[in-house]
């Protein structure tokens, strides 16, 4: 038994994260199109989209390396919010000119891309229920006994299937990967 307890010791399940999903692709891609698609996706889903970092390096003659760190937040209800993290790294990127099917020329990028996606469902994001030990105990009880099923079965599920996996499918679609497609797109609802 601890004498000095921290809020983390008795707040049950303050957040629930999704598994990280990885994409790797080597070939020709339209980086601008991909960037627009990701930003537009979050805008449509009513997220606040933050570009935390954009780093450009040219370590060798093979091409440039970009690193993007995106974070998107949506306060779904007063009690919980969704946070989605997108990390993109590109390697050996160089511009090439591509002739499309209709004969027009377009500038695209050739290189390697690595994408990491994961989300987090956070309860009590304003920390209202952590101001005193009593409130923190109440929050722990609420999360553990009252709202647990909803948290694991609805809030987390919607974040995972409607946001993270759908974004994953969208990125694959824009990279024109053979595994594109999303089997769970009709999972629930129409939004």
């Amino acid at each position: 038994m601890k004498i000095f307890m921290k809020p983390d010791d008795f707040i049950h399940l303050p957040e629930l994260g999704t598994p990280a999903i990885y994409i790797q692709y080597k070939g020709i891609l339209d980086m601008q199109d991909l960037y627009d698609a990701i930003a537009d996706f979050f805008r449509q889903k009513k997220f606040k989209f933050y570009e935390k970092q954009h780093r450009l390096r040219r370590p060798s003659s093979f091409g440039a390396e970009h690193n993007y760190i995106f974070e998107a937040r949506r306060k779904v209800e007063d009690y919980y919010e969704w946070i989605v993290y997108v990390n993109i790294e590109t390697f050996d990127m160089h511009d090439i000119e591509v002739v499309l099917k209709d004969g027009t020329k377009k500038k695209m990028t050739k290189g390697r891309i690595w994408v990491q996606l994961y989300g987090n469902c956070v309860t009590d994001y304003e920390k209202v229920w952590e101001k005193s030990a009593f409130l923190a105990h109440l929050k722990g009880f609420y999360n553990k006994y009252i709202v647990k099923k909803k948290f694991e079965g609805v809030w987390w599920d919607e974040l995972y299937y409607k946001i993270v996996l759908r974004l994953h499918a969208l990125i694959k679609e824009h990279l024109k990967m053979v595994s594109e497609g999303y089997e769970h797109r009709h999972f629930a609802g129409v939004h």
């Binding site: 598994p19 994409i23 080597k26 070939g27 996996l165 053979v178 595994s179």
Partner: protein
């Protein structure tokens, strides 16, 4: 992490020839979705090489069967030298992928997935006793059902790839 037990170890399918790899992935996902598995995508890699596409696709969907036990099925698909080629399907010209794929399937049972019984050694001991002796009949039944699900999936894949099959899923009609 709870106690992870390998029940199906490395079932392998090696195939060379024409196929629609997108349809294969959709079929696998759909199969597991219909059986109540949650999706977990581990890898989705694609590299365009001089000889064709190299693909690595791995999922490990899970299904909680009780509040103590869950199934995990790990499916890994490797595609080598995948190229598009012309084919005639139902009198229509279409493009299909052509290359070599290797599919590896593992089935796991995870006991105590919430890690409630591994804080102290005595709890760990009780858990082991419970799994192997007290609850043995249920444990074996769960394992048998996992093996059945994996065999059913393999049967579906073999059917999709038009291979010779040995496994027939026979369900007993209800009373």
């Amino acid at each position: 992490m709870g106690h992870l037990k390998i029940v199906v170890d490395h079932e392998k399918i090696d195939y060379s020839g024409p196929l629609d790899i997108g349809d294969l992935f959709r079929m696998i996902e759909n199969f597991l979705w219909e059986r109540g598995f949650d999706k977990k995508q581990d890898k989705d890699f694609e590299q365009n090489t001089e000889r064709g596409k190299f693909i690595e696709w791995q999922i490990s969907p899970w299904k909680k069967i009780t509040d103590y036990t869950r199934y995990i099925v790990k499916i890994r698909v490797l595609g080598y030298d995948m190229l598009k080629s012309n084919a005639v399907h139902s009198g229509k010209k279409t493009k299909v992928d052509n290359g070599r794929i290797i599919i590896v399937i593992d089935g796991f049972m995870e006991y105590d997935y919430d890690n409630k019984w591994d804080d102290v050694p005595i709890l760990h001991f009780f858990r082991t006793m419970y799994d192997y002796f007290i609850f043995k009949a249920y444990t074996e039944r769960f394992e048998q059902r996992l093996v059945h699900d994996v065999n059913h999936l393999i049967d579906h894949i073999e059917k999709f790839l038009n291979l010779y099959r040995y496994y027939a899923v026979i369900s007993k009609p209800g009373p």
